[in-house]
Symmetry: C2
Subunit: 299 residues, 2 copies
């Protein structure tokens, strides 16, 4: 079944110990789509400015991402500049230019309103809510956010969480929103806000997924080749939601498998700048690495 994602399509400037790249195609919705497309049809809802290169639009289409609701507005595309130092786990934001994102109102086509699987990637929770209101009867709603919204739009975010099935957060966000340092307790608190399931992404340390009935733990794929982690969390979410979009329910077996696919997809993302590596990814690549991952991490 199709999956619709609301998020950002951005131009990124990224500096890591392995180089500096300008004007990469980035943003939460781009990274999410690049892995989710390997599981299901993905429809992308985002905004771009007048400066957004046509080749990136062609690229998204060529990858099978439906861009009927990719709005182009007057102004500049959302632009993020960041760097990573020694420990590539933590991005340091150098600059954020919202551009057209500042006045974005997401709108979907009438056929898109009937899509059953929805992911609200990281944007203002009020935009996430405006978008979700347009969906007629979603079966699976996932949401990601960031510390900025936790600190500045906490009430909006908490209200929205009541309408969400799967809340995806990184460890810092989970701790910050819950006030708990133990991540298992943090997940339990976050579930009490509404979501049936909480996914805590821990970067190089893997992830935890908690529902009422279980807490699953999956390590990261052990990788020495980390070139640029930008978008790894979104790539994980794309694999996770992509797999669940075609699965029958949120039972432990499906959820572990979704987390493993998300982990494997993210392990490719970090191997190159931006979408370099995930742009060329095939289902065969995923399956091959999944077998290797199982060999070293399953027991």
């Amino acid at each position: 079944m199709s999956l619709i994602v609301l998020g950002t399509v951005a131009l990124d400037d990224v500096k890591t110990p392995f180089g500096f790249k300008k004007d990469l195609l980035g943003g939460s919705a781009s990274h999410f789509s690049m892995s989710a497309r390997l599981f299901t049809k993905v429809e992308l809802v985002a905004v771009i400015g007048e400066d957004f290169p046509g080749r990136f639009i062609d690229f998204l289409s060529r990858k099978g991402v439906v861009i009927d609701s990719l709005q182009r507005c007057g102004g500049k595309t959302f632009h993020w500049s960041g760097k990573y130092e020694g420990d590539l786990n933590a991005a340091i934001t150098l600059n954020t230019e919202l551009g057209v994102l500042a006045s974005f109102r997401p709108e979907v086509t009438s056929s898109q309103k009937r899509i059953k699987n929805v992911f609200l990637a990281n944007v203002d929770p009020d935009l996430q809510r405006h978008f979700l209101r347009q969906m007629i009867s979603p079966r699976l709603v996932g949401l990601d956010t960031m510390n900025y919204w936790i600190n500045n739009k906490r009430a909006s975010l908490i209200r929205l969480l009541k309408e969400v099935h799967v809340f995806v957060a990184n460890d810092q966000e989970a701790r910050s929103l819950s006030g708990e340092t133990n991540l298992i307790k943090a997940a339990a608190y976050l579930r009490s806000l509404g979501p049936k399931m909480v996914v805590i992404k821990k970067g190089e340390h893997g992830c935890l997924v908690q529902s009422r009935d279980f807490t699953a733990a999956i390590p990261a794929y052990p990788h020495h080749k980390v070139i640029d982690p930008t978008g790894a969390g979104d790539t994980f979410a794309g694999g996770f939601m992509g797999y669940l979009s075609r699965a029958r329910g949120l039972d432990l077996s499906n959820v572990k498998r979704a987390a493993v696919y998300g982990t494997v997809a993210a392990s490719f993302n970090v191997e190159g700048f931006g979408l370099t590596r995930t742009a060329h990814l095939t289902s065969d690549d995923l399956e091959r690495r999944l077998r290797e991952f199982r060999r070293v991490a399953s027991f």
Copy 2:
């Protein structure tokens, strides 16, 4: 096959958000033995002072730990005081009184010299070396250390690593000794110093085990009930080495299983102060939790 461990037997004062306990039986060799005993016969080599309670000696014997080389010397028992705050992953040392440990020279009986499996728990690398020199033809030698020795006896430690098969370190120690932030690269560097295998313990994030042929990743048992993590790393090492002492080799399957047993043993350790929980642990308890761990972490 038997396993001999050199390490500390200590009296610990521990403060965590869940309470304060004085004069607990602690030390690397005590915690190690409490899990290793579930896999094989464990012989303990350590020193205690005049103040060491007889009931703790009886306790170790009752648990099947061979204490023929537990020396009692004039002076005070090694005493550690520490606390844990919000994030129970990191111990804050408040005070260390070496006491009889300062002049300890480990000596083993003639029959102990023939024991094939050896673990050098955290003590001065010169003591570890002095002890290892007495062993006639060890088949499996493991070693743990701490940042203090990495900073203050680096040359001794590096020399000793050439004689070790399995080097067990936590993430900070691995980064500090290797100068690498990526833990996979850190493990590769540490292997270049001699050990066939490097185990990196990451506390709540599980562990990595690297040999020439593989890097295995096992998450921690997802646990909300962390009361006192003191000795969790030693308990892990006890399970890991205990399992390998009776296994046929260091292949991936054995090593993953050893890491899983270490993880499961450590998951009990953190549930109570000191040895409270591991003192009563049975093989059945381990197997039961292993099944639950597999359910939520294997795929």
